[in-house]
Symmetry: none
C-alpha cells in the first residue's frame, strides 16, 4: 500500500543535540513507515525549547503533511511537545479518561505516590485518536488539522517501539487504506567497490524506476536495495526478479546473499549444509574471524575452534609451521599461510582449515607494508590454496576486511565444490 | 572556549530516511563540538535529492550560521552535497591537487582501477580550508560565505570521525579563538551499575556546578564526565582534581582509567610495564578477548596468542584439560577454567594464562543456564584462580561482559602484585 503523504519526523530532546544519544527513534519509525509506503523526506531534531520547536513545526507544516513527533510527552517541565502543538494548531488539551485510568493503575501497582505532574501525561489533543502506551504513562496520539496529520509518540524506545508496531501502523493502514503493495529486497555484494559497482550498473540504475535501485556501501560491502510498488503482489515479485536478473548478469560474481544476512552467516550456513567441520589459524586477525563465527549460536556442531598464533613461536609449536618456512619465507608469506591452514586442519582434526597472516599496521613487518595479507585455505581432498591482498585503511579496517575476505573466499570455494 | 555560533548538522542520505542506518554521525559531531563550546540547535536529515537539499540549506541559512554537512561527498551520482552548496552560495568547485594525488595513491596502492567518477571526489569548493581524509578519498572542507560557515564532512564514520578529531576541531579552535577554557576529563568505572554509582555520588553530582559531573553508562561500564570552565587553565585543572578526589573517595575501588582508555588498554599497559607475557584459552568467548588485545598495535611484544577451544576435544588435545575434569566437572566449571588457564600458560610458555568457559546461550549447556561463566587466571608463582559469574542479557552481551571482566580481574590481580 501507499500512503500519499510527505512525512517528516521531529525528534524533541536536547540530549540528542548534545550527542548523548543517537536518534535511533527516527531510524525505527522510518523503517516501520517505509514498509507501509510512507514517503519520508526529512528528519529534524530540536531541543527542549518552545520557540525553536515552534519554528521547526512551522517549517515542517510548509513542506510536509504528515508530522511525526517523538519525545517531550513526559511529566517534567521540559516536556513541551503536546502543549506547543496545541498552541500552534489551536486545539485544546483534554484529559483522556483511559490514559488517566492506566496512569492511576500504574501507580497503584507500583505502590508509588502519584505526583500532580503525572496528571499532565493524561492530557491529549482534543479530537485525536489515542495510541495506548502499554509500557509507560504518556499516551500517543494521531490527529488531523487543516489537511496535515500529526502523530505524537513518546521518546523512550521501550514505549515508542511497541506503540508504533501495535497501535500506530494498524491505525494508519485503517485510516489511509490500501492501494499499492511495496516490496523491497536487498542484494549484498563483496569484493567490489561502490563506485565500480555503480559504474557497472549505471544504465540500469538510471533507467530503473520500478523497482528503484539504491546502492549503499558499509564495512567494505556494497548493497543494492530494490524497491518495487504495485497493486498486484505477484507483479511486484516479478518486477523485482526481472531487475535482479539484469543486475546479476553484470555483477553476479560479487553477490553473496539477500537482505540482513552476512558473509559469516552465509559461511556458517554452507558449512552446516555440507556437514564440514572448520577451524582457523589467526595471526594478525587475532581472533576476529573466530569471534565472528562463534557470535552465531549453535556453531559448535561444526566449528572446532582456532589458534591465535600471534608469535612465530606459536605458529611453529602449536600449529606446526616449519622453522624453514618462517626463516626463508617469513610469517607474512603464501607459504606460511598454506602451512597454517593445513596445520590447524590437522591439529584440530577438521575438514577445513583457514588461516590469516599479514601486517595490520601501523608499522611494517618483515619488510611488508601494512595491509599486506595472505589467507590460506585447506580443504580435505583439495589442494591447499593461498590468496594475497594489499588492503588500505586503518589497522582495525585491515583486520576486519581480512576476516570478511576469509569468509568470502571460503564461501566461494565451498560453492564450487 | 566558546564558539559563538548557532550550529546545525545536515546529514545527507536517503538510507537515513529509509531507516537503514541511524544518524550516529550527528551524535558524534554534536559531542565533539559541544566540547569546544559550540551551540548545536538543530539536526536535519534529507535524502539524496537536489531540490529538497536546496530547501534544507536555505532554511538552515535563516536560523543557523554554522552548517555542518555529513554525507554526499562520494563518487556516485547521488552524491550531491558539494555541487548543491556550490550552486547556492555561488562558489565554483576546483580540483584539489593534494586530494587528487592521495586518490591516485590509493588506487595505485590497492592495485584497483580508478573509475572516472573517482576524480569527482577531488573537487573542493574554491577558497575553502581542506580537511584531509586519511582513511578515504573524499576530502572535507570548511569555508565562509556571507558570515555563514559551511563544514563538509564525508558520510562513512571511519572517515568522518578521524577527520573531525584530527582536522576539524583544531582548525575551528584556531579560527574562532579562545576566551574561556573548557577542560573535560572522563573517569571510567567497571563492576558497578550506573544507578548504584549515581546513588553513591548523588549529593556530589547535584551540588557540583563547576566542574559539572555527567554520568553515562555504556557496554557494562559507567563513566563520569567532569567538565570545568575557567579563564585560567591552572584553575580548571585544580577544580577538576578537587572534584575527582571527592569522587574517588566514594567509588575509587571501581575506577580503572581516564578518558578514552579501555579495560583492555589498561591491561596491555600493565603487562608491558611488568614485562609479563600473556596468552588466553577461550571457549564460549570464541576469540573475543584475544581480538580485543590484538586490536591494539605492538602487543606481540608480550601477547603470544590463544587457543579458541570451542569443543571439549580441543580443550583436551590442544590445551591439555584432563578428560576426568571434563567428565566429572564438565567444561563449564571452576576446575576446567583453572586447567585451561594453567594449560594455555604452559602450552604457550607465557607468564600469565587466562581462560574463559561458560554458557553464552540461548540454550543452556551441561545443565547450566545462559550467563553462567567461569574465568580462570594462572600467573607464574601464584595460585591458579577461578572466578564465577552469572550474567544476564543477550548472547553477545554475555560474551562481551565476560571478556571485559577478564581484563578487569587480571588488571586487579596485577595491581596487587
Amino acid at each position: 500500500m501507499k500512503i500519499e503523504k510527505n512525512a517528516e519526523i521531529i525528534a524533541v530532546g536536547s540530549e540528542l543535540l548534545l550527542g548523548q544519544i543517537a536518534n535511533t527513534n527516527a531510524q525505527f519509525i522510518s523503517k516501520q513507515l517505509a514498509e507501509i509506503g510512507v514517503n519520508m523526506f526529512y528528519h529534524t531534531v530540536v531541543g527542549d525549547n518552545v520557540s525553536r520547536l515552534k519554528q521547526v513545526i512551522k517549517t515542517a507544516q510548509e513542506r510536509s503533511d504528515f508530522l511525526i513527533f517523538t519525545g517531550g510527552l513526559g511529566p517534567t517541565k521540559d516536556d513541551l511537545t503536546k502543549e506547543t502543538i496545541a498552541e500552534i494548531i489551536g486545539r485544546p488539551l483534554v484529559i483522556n479518561d483511559e490514559a488517566m485510568a492506566s496512569i492511576e493503575r500504574y501507580f497503584a501497582k507500583t505502590n508509588r505516590m502519584m505526583s500532580p505532574n503525572n496528571r499532565k501525561q493524561a492530557l491529549v489533543l482534543e479530537g485525536s485518536d489515542v495510541l495506548v502506551n502499554r509500557f509507560g504513562m504518556a499516551p500517543g496520539m494521531l490527529l488531523e488539522s487543516n489537511g496535515c496529520f500529526y502523530m505524537l509518540l513518546p521518546g523512550p524506545p521501550s514505549e515508542m517501539k511497541p506503540m508504533v508496531e501495535q497501535e500506530a501502523i494498524p491505525l494508519l493502514l485503517e485510516k489511509f487504506g490500501h492501494n499499492e503493495k511495496i516490496v523491497s529486497k536487498v542484494l549484498r555484494f563483496f569484493g567490489i567497490g561502490e563506485s565500480q559497482l555503480e559504474t557497472d550498473l549505471e544504465d540500469i540504475i538510471d533507467s530503473q524506476t520500478n523497482p528503484t535501485i539504491a546502492p549503499l556501501a558499509a564495512d567494505g560491502e556494497v548493497t543494492l536495495r530494490l524497491t518495487a510498488k504495485h497493486a498486484d503482489q505477484d507483479e511486484t515479485k516479478r518486477l523485482l526478479e526481472e531487475a535482479e536478473a539484469k543486475i546479476m548478469d553484470r555483477v553476479g560474481e560479487y553477490f553473496y546473499g539477500y537482505d540482513d544476512t552476512s558473509l559469516v552467516g552465509e559461511l556458517v550456513k554452507a558449512c552446516r549444509e555440507k556437514g564440514l567441520s572448520l577451524s582457523a589459524a589467526e595471526s594478525f586477525t587475532g581472533g576476529l574471524f573466530s569471534e565472528g563465527i562463534t557470535n552465531i549460536s549453535g556453531v559448535s556442531s561444526f566449528f572446532k575452534g582456532s589458534v591465535v598464533c600471534y608469535t612465530n613461536e606459536m605458529k611453529n609449536s602449536v600449529v606446526g609451521v616449519s622453522e624453514q618456512t618462517l626463516r626463508h619465507h617469513g610469517a607474512v608469506s603464501a607459504e606460511c599461510a598454506k602451512e597454517l591452514a593445513a596445520g590447524i586442519k590437522s591439529v584440530s582434526g577438521s575438514d577445513i582449515g583457514i588461516s590469516f597472516t599479514g601486517v595490520a599496521g601501523p608499522d611494517s613487518q618483515e619488510g611488508h607494508p601494512p595491509g599486506k595479507v595472505f589467507i590460506g585455505i585447506a580443504i580435505t581432498g583439495k589442494q591447499v590454496l593461498s590468496f594475497e591482498f594489499i588492503f588500505a585503511g586503518t589497522r582495525s579496517g585491515i583486520r576486519k576486511r581480512s576476516a570478511k575476505y576469509g569468509s568470502y573466499l571460503l564461501l566461494k570455494e565451498l560453492e564450487n565444490e
